[in-house]
Subunit: 208 residues, 2 copies
Amino acid sequence: MTYPFQLIPMATLKENGVAANSWKIHEHLGTHTDAPNHFIENQKSLDQIALEDLIVPVVVIDISDKASKNRDAELTVDDIKTFESQYGKIPDHSCVMMYSGWEAHLKDPMFVGLDSQQVKHYPGFSSAAIQFLLTQRSIAGIGVDDLSIDPGIDEKYTGHKMLFAAGKWAVECVANLSNIPKTGATIIVGAPKVGKATGGFSRIIAVW
Amino acid sequence: MTYPFQLIPMATLKENGVAANSWKIHEHLGTHTDAPNHFIENQKSLDQIALEDLIVPVVVIDISDKASKNRDAELTVDDIKTFESQYGKIPDHSCVMMYSGWEAHLKDPMFVGLDSQQVKHYPGFSSAAIQFLLTQRSIAGIGVDDLSIDPGIDEKYTGHKMLFAAGKWAVECVANLSNIPKTGATIIVGAPKVGKATGGFSRIIAVW
Ligand SMILES: [Mn+2]
Ligand SMILES: [Mn+2]
């Protein structure tokens, strides 16, 4: 159903005196934001996410150690509690990022990790962890350095549905999470303001 | 050569349990950034603009009064000097925005202003003003609330070429410039990091 990004020349400096390209694109390509209407009827579309929910504190929970040993690794409630014991409570109205190390696999088959049954294998948030963040903490959204906030083996997208039912956003395929502070930075999610969109590629910037 | 934005459903909640859309798009649609390679051979593409050049001070020079009387109005060197006498010198490494009031015409033919000879009519920076900014001030880029940094009547895109030869960027079709301070704000240009792109739609945010 999806397809790769394509850049198709429309005009070139040599022939037209101006260069410009067409893009063949869909809403869930590359580093992108998921809006709540991606899985939930009548929920917010990308343009309806409030700007104040897109510039928020960010924390990074690193599960790359266990993920390097298990491609189905999950970010669990225990991982959140261990993080908090070291870095303090997750700030209100923040974005919680999972760093799994998966960005290193971007260009190899392990990024999707399809097995012989066409089941995907990559790390994600456990649904209990998402439930915990939604009910015991105050978050604006969550993010991951791989393809999806749910682990690849969850073909029901449980976490997506819980998160979006609560009106929160997700960011996926986020790069450079190992280069920002674990806590204390602010993230700016440059989600394009496109009506009806269920998502869209986004320039995501951390400042600290 | 150009075409309007189209959002084409790929999947719907009712039929597929997930909603997602395809976008038919080109690099110079809606609120977008122009990269120097749009008009100049071997200049920077969109992904090559340094992040530190995309988060910069912003000033807004309001020429809406004269533009309301003359759709070919230009932002001139005198307008810059008048602005500076009131708000102080344009800060180094900043983005200079022209506010012409044209955003109000977004949905009527006046936005492009084609005459019977197919010549366009809308306000823009004079090429002398761009030259002044490039040589007498230090800028990161410039922007406008209408279609192009050059006035519609300039079919040679003189200002584009001068600006891009100097490796600076432009932002076009920028909304809400009348709602931010004339000076003192910081702009975050969320230009998508797409290789070879000559531009691309961008979430542009001012904070102050
Ligand atoms: Mn997605
Ligand atoms: Mn353009």
